[in-house]
């Protein structure tokens, strides 16, 4: 049943013939499942649309920006992220097991799932290919500083690293440090500094000078 010719992590590198092989294979699977009455193709369309347009790291960025702006919200977020984000009314209810971990000058947090691809979908959307890749999953737990170097990030020597391996249904989001020079910024403007990677812990927020 299993045939493999593609040995790339990401399918956009696949040759056209292999791409169409998967296209045909998945189309056949969907046809069988729809004909047997197990799935409704219109529901599949709605799922895809939601992940392409509604769910994504812009949601997490709003949470971080609010935490930077509102000390009471930040406290609530770190105490119980599911509850705090749920009350924020961001979107439909977030999962029950969301945990926010806060970066400080002394501690940098990084999130990984070494066993599969666990990721806080509700606040960050679907994980990028690199997050699900063997290099990241293998090295994040024993060489996080080397992983950060792959992202062009160098932390000060005095900043320790804490890695969270998502081995259960708990999900983690990193609360990065608010960049200096953003005093008086609106939440909306702050959110523009918050990248997906800085909420995973493989990046830092954007430089305020780069956001006009």
């Amino acid at each position: 049943m299993v045939q493999d010719h593609d040995n790339h992590h990401d399918d956009h590198h696949e040759h056209g013939s292999e791409l169409s092989e998967m296209q045909l294979r998945v189309r056949a699977l969907e046809t069988v499942l729809a004909e047997k009455g197990y799935v409704d193709p219109a529901a599949l369309d709605a799922i895809i649309e939601a992940y392409e347009t509604k769910v994504g790291p812009h949601n997490g960025a709003r949470v971080v920006a609010k935490a930077w702006s509102d000390p009471a919200f930040k406290k609530a977020l770190v105490e119980n992220a599911s509850k705090a984000v749920g009350a924020f009314g961001l979107m439909s209810r977030v999962g029950d097991h969301l945990i926010a971990v806060e970066n400080t000058p002394k501690l940098h947090n990084m999130i990984v799932c070494t066993l599969c691809s666990c990721y806080p979908w509700e606040v960050l959307g679907l994980p990028p290919v690199w997050y699900k890749s063997a290099p990241y999953r293998s090295r994040a737990v024993n060489d996080p500083r080397g992983v950060l170097a792959d992202f062009g990030v160098t932390l000060p020597a005095g900043t320790d690293i804490r890695v969270w391996d998502s081995t259960a249904e708990t999900r983690f989001i990193v609360l990065p440090m608010r960049p200096a020079g953003t005093e008086g910024w609106s939440e909306e403007k702050l959110a523009a500094l918050v990248t997906r990677d800085c909420m995973i812990g493989t990046g830092l927020p954007k430089n305020p000078k780069d956001v006009s």
């Binding site: 069988v32 799935v39 066993l115 599969c116 024993n142 249904e169 708990t170």
Partner: protein, 218 residues
């Protein structure tokens, strides 16, 4: 199972290669594959742990050489055939050759928004917690042939309980379709050197989310 999926700490996979401006899906079939997984999950035919175990059981060479969504697609085919919901002949034909089996429920487009948030994996506790924050614990040296969420790199290692995360569905049992078997879940923190020896950065800390059956007092 001690499979290729358990990658923490392995060497030789090279650098992490982020893709600038990565699209949500790289091809149409990836989105269809994700959606099929979600829609079938909604019918209640399997648990999330059964689907993870489905990926882990792919042959190692297939696991390593297939893209993420290709693994999902192959896993779907395998599980559906294994459970008798679809015939291999039907996948071959690209059409249903027999009527489907009745399922508990079917996902309609109108119900999609409410399926976007995750359900809860918390369950009523069957017993009091055995450990509390601050306790030193040793992870057991477990090597089950079946699904487990205790990664190899963190077996038979001493760490500290940092937090109690509630009583959750136990993946090792749920993956076999044998019910929820709720167990207490803890965040357990390890020093990098306990996991990786002298080669680790001295200040590195790594935590796992560990179910109580994985732990014993240190």
């Amino acid at each position: 199972m001690d499979g290729i999926h358990d990658m923490g700490g392995m060497h030789g996979f090279g650098k992490v290669e982020p893709e600038p401006n990565e699209p949500v899906f790289h091809a149409e079939w990836e989105g269809r594959t994700l959606a099929l997984n979600r829609a079938l999950g909604y019918t209640g035919i399997w648990t999330i742990d059964q689907t993870r175990y489905g990926i882990e059981r792919l042959p190692p060479d297939v696991y390593l050489t297939s893209s993420y969504y290709k693994k999902w697609a192959v896993r779907l085919e395998n599980l559906l055939v294994e459970m008798g919901l679809v015939g291999a002949d039907e996948l071959e034909a690209g059409h249903a050759l027999r009527p489907g089996r009745p399922l508990k429920r079917k996902l309609a487009a109108a119900d999609v928004p409410k399926t976007l948030s995750r359900g809860s994996f918390a369950r009523p506790a069957q017993a009091p917690t055995r450990f509390k924050p601050g306790d030193r614990v040793r992870t057991k040296n477990l090597h089950p042939q079946t699904h487990t969420r205790l990664p190899r790199y963190a077996r038979d290692r001493v760490g500290t309980v940092e937090a109690i995360r509630g009583c959750h569905v136990f993946p090792d049992t749920a993956a076999l379709g044998k019910g929820d078997d709720p167990q207490w879940l803890y965040t357990v923190l390890f020093d990098g050197r306990e996991l990786w020896g002298e080669s680790a950065e001295p200040t590195l800390k790594v935590s796992i989310e560990a179910f109580e059956p994985y732990l014993e007092p240190a």
